[in-house]
């Protein structure tokens, strides 16, 4: 009867010891092993007791089954592991290898195998000792980190795209708001200016019919005043035209004849400024959906600007081409603040108008489409030319980009959406 408490204590001590052993085994993540070779062939292997914790197999199981280790290696890593082991067997110390194995419980573990050769007393290669470390936790952390990194990159790419879209939308909103403000301003100005002009016009009509006013120089004075009223009216008219752009009347058109007609309209000005015109037309371009009158106005504005930039003569080169729009062309267009309207691969016609005039200061390039911004002397420009031009190109769903040429002067690129060659 007295033995019983002793037995209970002993059993408890054994359980305690087993528990501590299990905890110890579980905490082991490394073990050493040794391989003895003779003429390159394995003649003996021995594994430290830690192999049980790392692989689930007892040291004696490795000793009795030479292929056990080979079978444990994950099939996807087997080739690399075999090649690595072959190098070791030849006495060439291979780099430390990390690969997957199947634990006895079926789970996959990552291990790191690091080896040191050892030599006989005669100095011949006799085998090697290895240290196997369980690096599963580190590998899982690395994989999690890689995945997180990939997700982060995806999120970053998505954020960058959203940011670009937001910027583009913001730009369009600013421009829309500007146009709305200009529209209201234009209507206000038109009302306040055209009404007094109407009084002046009617008054001049009255004076022109009076018997005392039918002799020179009074006739000349009245005519000059009428001309001045008409000029002022035309300026307000332009403002109204710009502020309330009408829907374009789109038809399938060839761009090149339209450019030729636009050139005819400014021929007098080009000749007067001694500007030579060279056209590098591609010919046989696909048709574009255009309002020919509006687009002519856009080209006339561009040609007139070029002419003003070459007051002492120069050359104007117009080049046309058709292509599928590229990412870099889209980026160039985006920089011009025209907004990106195309996606890579869209069929387009490009018109490049290059002059060798004075160019535009780089810090002014971002303002050239702003209403009433002009780099020309007073009386030369209204500051609406490029604004109207951009509005016209915009209403065609196209883009306009203005940059300084590499050799000076300005290069204006107009990109218009075209039909495919085989599209009806």
């Amino acid at each position: 009867m007295q033995l019983e408490p002793e037995l209970i204590r002993a059993e408890a001590a054994v359980r305690n010891s087993e528990e501590r052993y299990r905890e110890l085994i579980a905490s082991i993540t490394d073990y050493i092993y040794s391989v003895r070779l003779h003429h390159g062939a394995v003649i003996e292997t021995s594994h430290g007791p830690g192999c049980l914790a790392v692989t689930g197999y007892q040291p004696q199981e490795y000793a009795s089954d030479p292929n056990l280790w080979h079978r444990m290696v994950h099939p996807d890593d087997r080739t690399a592991v075999v090649a690595n082991a072959a190098q070791m067997a030849e006495g060439k110390v291979p780099p430390t290898i990390e690969h997957r194995i199947f634990h006895r419980d079926g789970s996959i573990r990552w291990i790191r195998n690091q080896r040191v050769p050892h030599y006989s007393a005669e100095g011949t290669f006799a085998g090697y000792d290895g240290l196997v470390s369980d690096v599963t936790s580190r590998k899982q952390a690395e994989e999690a980190l890689t995945e997180a990194n990939v997700r982060l990159r995806e999120v970053l790419a998505s954020l960058t795209k959203s940011h670009e879209e937001l910027k583009s939308t913001q730009m369009q909103l600013i421009e829309a708001e500007k146009l709305q403000t200009i529209g209201q301003l234009a209507a206000g100005v038109a009302h306040e200016v055209k009404n007094p002009l109407a009084v002046l016009q009617m008054g001049l009509g009255y004076l022109g019919r009076q018997p005392d006013w039918t002799a020179e120089p009074t006739i000349m004075v009245v005519k000059e005043m009428r001309d001045a009223v008409n000029r002022a009216d035309a300026v307000v008219g332009d403002l109204l035209e710009f502020a309330a752009p009408k829907q374009p009347e789109l038809r399938d058109r060839d761009v090149e004849p339209l450019i030729r007609r636009s050139l005819t309209l400014v021929r007098h000005e080009l000749n007067a400024a001694n500007v030579r015109v060279a056209t590098n037309f591609a010919g046989n371009l696909p048709a574009c959906r255009l309002d020919s009158n509006k687009l002519k106005q856009a080209f006339v504005n561009i040609f007139t600007n070029a002419c003003h930039a070459m007051a002492d003569g120069g050359s104007l080169t117009i080049t046309t081409s058709s292509s599928r729009i590229t990412e870099s062309e889209m980026n160039g267009v985006a920089r011009s603040r025209s907004g990106t309207r195309f996606k890579p691969g869209d069929a387009v016609v490009l018109v490049e108008i290059a002059d060798n005039g004075t160019g535009i200061p780089e810090d002014k390039l971002s303002k050239i489409f702003d209403p009433y911004y002009t780099t020309k002397p007073t009386g030369k420009g209204t500051g609406l030319g490029l604004t109207v031009t951009k509005a016209i190109i915009d209403m065609h769903g196209g883009c306009i980009n203005v940059r300084n040429g590499v050799d000076g002067g300005v290069v204006v690129t107009v990109i218009l959406r075209s039909r495919m060659k085989d599209e009806k």
Partner: protein, 123 residues
């Protein structure tokens, strides 16, 4: 020369314009109304053959006045021409706004105004 001058009512808050139009077009009997709120009442009294109607006015705009005139039994057939400072001459050639009424862009020469008046009086 006509025996009876056609009667034109001109409704416009710009006094200088109505006064000079009256002086410049002596072949018409012109009644000026510078207060748009009184336009209908003046039209009923004056019984015009044609009405020139400004669009943007402080009291009642041209569109409202045109609707009142069209609703009036005695005035509904009187031709109306809008005079407006907020469209361009090009638009007046291209389209008819304001519910199909013809309109003239200000400023207008006396010759052009007479041409338009005669065109619509004939109708």
């Amino acid at each position: 020369m006509r025996n009876n001058k056609p009667k034109i009512l001109i409704v416009d808050d710009e006094k200088g314009f109505t006064k000079l139009t009256r002086l410049t077009l002596p072949d018409y009997e012109i009644c000026e109304e510078n207060n748009s709120a009184r336009a209908l009442e003046t039209a009923r009294r004056f019984k015009p053959d044609l009405i020139l109607l400004d669009v943007v006015m402080p009291e009642a705009d041209g569109g409202d006045i045109a609707a009142q005139i069209r609703a009036d039994a005695t005035l509904k057939r009187v031709p109306i021409i809008f005079l407006t400072a907020i469209v361009t001459e090009k638009e007046t050639e291209k389209r008819q706004l304001f519910g199909g009424y013809p309109f003239i862009s200000k400023p207008v020469t006396p010759e052009k105004l007479v041409e338009e008046i005669e065109k619509h009086l004939a109708v």
